[in-house]
């Protein structure tokens, strides 16, 4: 494993601190400026090329969404929406969809297999497929509907934010391929700052509601959007307005399980204590005595 294995903030199904000795690793972020995206899918092609996957050739569903959805072999897709802000006006909204690299990742919270999902010090959430058992709990945990199980071997896949490239100081492949500068990558601080400039520019050009999408319900994300319609993220093919780890997932994975696990121990211990304090309940006659040494 490469040196990024020294900077692990969180590790799925692990109750002790993972290796994190160096500490201060800068937080990274990808910024997707929707106002600059022309939907050319260069990023989609670059992702396929760097990560060396090929989705099966599918069928056209009548839109530009091609392939129509994420897949174990398709970690980013462009989602196209024809939006009418008012009658007679048309906007073509294009959103690059993929893992948001949540600071508080629902996938990692839900995963039952130790080390199948890790979060690096720089904020990237990465699946380690060799530890994945294929249960699909990450799908249940993710607020953005991102992970996909491979039909071939049943492991879960999603965007790695090119953790392998970032670990050696390169930017993700999609960033390198984007011809318009709609995709930029750097520290989260720099990207937030860069977004402020873009939002000011959009506001000056009539997009009064332009905003940065860095949802706090999941602790912020390491993939952020500049949205011209920042007040209505859902119009961008269902980008959730206020995403967070579902209450069901929190109940399932929160304090409930340690308490219930302890409960099983208490019940077992309770039985033992009952036996040594109250003793067995015996039917006291000849029969019963024979029962006992005949192995009950």
């Amino acid at each position: 494993m490469a040196s990024q294995s020294l900077d692990i903030t969180r590790r799925s199904a692990t109750t002790t601190q993972p290796p994190d000795v160096r500490g201060a690793v800068p937080q990274v972020a990808k910024l997707i400026d929707i106002s600059k995206c022309i939907g050319c899918k260069a990023c989609q092609a670059a992702c396929m090329e760097w990560n060396d996957y090929r989705d099966e050739i599918g069928t056209c569903n009548g839109t530009y969404n091609n392939p129509p959805d994420l897949d174990a072999n398709q970690w980013t897709v462009m989602r196209f929406t024809e939006y009418e802000p008012e009658a007679g006006k048309l906007e073509w909204l294009i959103r690059k969809d993929g893992c948001m690299h949540c600071a508080d990742p629902g996938c990692l919270t839900a995963c039952p297999s130790p080390g199948a999902i890790v979060q690096y010090g720089n904020g990237i959430v990465d699946f380690h497929e060799e530890h994945c058992i294929g249960c699909g709990y990450c799908i249940t945990g993710c607020p953005f509907n991102i992970p996909r199980l491979s039909k071939k071997e049943g492991k879960a896949y999603k965007c790695t934010l090119c953790s392998d490239r970032v670990a050696v100081g390169l930017e993700p492949a999609c960033i390198k391929a984007c011809p318009t500068g709609a995709l930029v990558f750097g520290t989260k601080e720099d990207m937030t700052h860069h977004a402020e400039g873009r939002i000011a520019d959009l506001k000056s050009r009539g997009h009064a509601q332009a905003a940065l999408y860095d949802p706090q319900g999941v602790g912020g994300t390491h993939v952020m959007y500049v949205l011209p319609h920042g007040d209505k993220p859902e119009i961008y093919e269902g980008l959730p307005k206020d995403p967070g780890i579902s209450a069901w997932v929190s109940v399932w994975k929160g304090v409930t399980k340690p308490i219930l696990s302890l409960g099983l121990g208490v019940i077992a211990l309770g039985g033992f204590i009952h036996y040594v304090t109250k003793g067995p309940n015996e039917a006291d006659d000849e029969d019963a005595k024979e029962d006992e040494h005949e192995g009950r």
Partner: protein, 205 residues
């Protein structure tokens, strides 16, 4: 001991069915618990590792469900509550203190009956929720919001069932002469008179 001194409680088929369920329960519960909390993940080693554990568990669960259906049909009619059961519940503290004299219990006491219904309900819930979260066969057909509810329902019902079985096993150890009913099929007269007097009267008619 002469066979005539002992009372038959479970037929060979009933015993075989019971131990089939017991075996499959242990396998289903252990493979499920492995995914329940990291503290139990080591249990997956008994099933050939995490991936095999995940693959095998639902099949073990379904087999347990099917064999439990057999027990359910066999024991259903004996598990309706009677007025004597209310008496048993009211004197639960006495029962725990081994002072169960004067209770007119039938084939099963109120505790056993309650456990029976807990098992019936949780096994059905486990089957239903288990199918919903079963990857890759069924889960993709359900919305993610439903998967979330189902997985919570599954782990809670599993917990209730496992806790119930702990009580069930302990009760059999605690009340001497009970285990043999399920291993050899018979109980002593004294056992029947003391713990299930109404049943004893019924069968000695």
């Amino acid at each position: 001991m002469r066979a005539a001194d002992r009372i038959s409680r479970y037929s060979a088929q009933e015993r075989a069915n019971h131990w089939m369920v017991a075996l499959l329960f242990v396998l289903a519960a252990a493979s499920g618990l492995a995914l329940f909390h990291p503290a139990f993940f080591f249990l997956s080693n008994f099933f050939g590792g995490g991936t095999w554990d995940r693959i095998l568990h639902p099949f073990l669960g379904v087999l347990m469900f099917l064999s439990f259906l057999g027990l359910m049909v066999r024991f259903w009619s004996h598990n309706h509550y009677t007025p004597a059961d209310r008496q048993w519940l009211r004197r639960f503290r006495d029962v725990l203190n081994n002072h169960d004299e004067g209770l007119d219990t039938g084939k099963y006491n109120a505790g056993q009956k309650t456990l029976f219904w807990v098992m019936v309900i949780t096994t059905f819930l486990l089957l239903l929720s288990g199918i919903i979260i079963w990857q890759p066969w069924f889960a993709p057909y359900f919305p993610i919001a439903l998967l979330r509810v189902a997985v919570v329902a599954h782990s809670l019902s599993a917990w209730v069932l496992i806790a119930g079985i702990f009580v069930h096993v302990y009760a059999a150890i605690w009340v001497k002469g009970t285990v043999r009913a399920m291993t050899r099929g018979d109980v002593s007269r004294a056992w029947a008179k003391k713990h299930h007097p109404a049943w004893y009267r019924e069968i000695s008619k």
